[in-house]
């Protein structure tokens, strides 16, 4: 790999990691959901620092081209992230539903008790 490209990749992956950490630090990203992102960005940093690892991985996986091993691992991480988002979304949808139901019932009992008081 070209030295300049290597350098750019290292900088980019470090910036990416720093960005994620900063987002978590400033509470704009909840750590719970940021874990997959942290994991992903850390592996980017490691891979850019030791590109030989990639050759090793592609050997282990019997992938001919190391670049295909990159694609494979990136797609794997993306699937992981999207799936964790779908799980979080489903859970939140259920919570929002319950909250809306309880609020609706509560509003009714409030108007009812107001009515009986004013009588």
């Amino acid at each position: 790999m070209n030295n300049i490209l290597h350098f750019i990749l290292i900088i980019a992956s470090l910036l990416f990691l720093g960005f994620i950490v900063n987002m978590v630090r400033s509470k704009r990203l909840e750590l719970k959901y940021a874990l997959t992102w942290l994991f992903t960005s850390c592996s980017f940093v490691i891979l850019s620092l030791f590109p030989r690892l990639l050759n090793f991985i592609s050997n282990v996986l019997h992938v001919k081209e190391p670049v295909n091993a990159i694609f494979l691992s990136v797609i794997f991480f993306l699937l992981l992230i999207v799936f964790s988002l779908t799980v979080a979304l489903s859970r939140n949808a259920k919570r929002v539903k319950t909250l809306a139901q309880e609020i609706g019932i509560m509003k009714l009992s409030m108007t009812k008790s107001e009515k009986s008081r004013s009588k």
Binding site: A100, Q101, I105, L108
Partner: protein
């Protein structure tokens, strides 16, 4: 015995006055709760005008979420029986007593079916074919014979109210709830009713959505039949 009539309503200002008047005439001793699923029309004002109890949901939850709100209300207020009646005026409230009588025989869920005596509004041939398909599917996975699984005209006893208050499918819930009820060893039955065509407004299932509906409900039935019976866990 305290009975609650649950009316899920989304944009039903045109149908609710007659329905509420019918209930007052046919079932004067039952309590009524309208679940206004964040309607865009004057459903809320209509309920107020007719002095009916109404839960105004702050966001639109869809039919399943709205009906479940009714079951939660029934559960919190300790009702013995909850009867679900669609807000579109298709269901004749004079049959409510027959649904309740069936529960007295020991059933937990009783569904009003328009395909036992085959009178009144029978829906289009394609819809009947779809309904027939769900009947066969439910028979296959639960062994339960239900002639009108999509009917939203049904009565539940106290045990099932408690279960539905905790677990209820989100959209297109009718066929799925039958499977869920059977999976949890609740007893399901049907009584013949005569339904009318909806008087005002449109059905929630348009031709455009019907394919999605068929796929979604089929999947829901299959998955519900795989789900473990959890005996009403929180």
């Amino acid at each position: 015995m305290r009975v609650l009539i649950i009316i899920p309503a989304y944009n039903e200002e045109g149908n609710l006055p007659k329905l509420l008047a019918d209930i007052k005439k046919n079932n004067p001793y039952f309590d009524v709760i309208v679940i206004n699923d964040c309607s865009l029309d004057r459903t809320k004002e209509v309920c107020k005008y007719y002095d009916s109890d109404v839960v105004n949901l702050p966001v639109n939850l869809g039919i399943g979420g709205a009906v479940q709100t009714g079951y939660k209300y029934a559960y919190y207020n300790n009702y013995d029986i909850a009867v679900q009646v669609d807000g579109d005026g298709q269901h004749n409230t004079k049959y409510i007593n027959e649904l309740i009588e069936k529960l007295d025989e020991g059933f937990n869920l009783c569904i009003g079916s328009r395909f036992i005596v085959n009178q009144g509004f029978q829906s289009t041939a394609t819809r009947r074919a779809g309904i027939r398909f769900f009947s066969v599917l439910i028979k296959m996975v639960t062994g339960q014979v239900v002639s009108d699984p999509t009917s939203g005209f049904r009565a539940c006893d106290k045990k099932l109210i408690e279960y539905f208050a905790q677990e209820y499918p989100k959209d297109y819930p009718e066929p799925e709830t039958i499977v869920i009820a059977r999976r949890n060893n609740f007893k399901v039955s049907e009584v013949p009713v005569i339904m009318a065509e909806r008087e005002d407004g449109k059905s929630s299932i348009t031709s455009f959505k019907s394919i999605y509906y068929m796929i979604k409900v089929t999947m829901a039935i299959l998955i519900a039949s795989l789900s473990k019976s959890n005996g009403g866990r929180k």
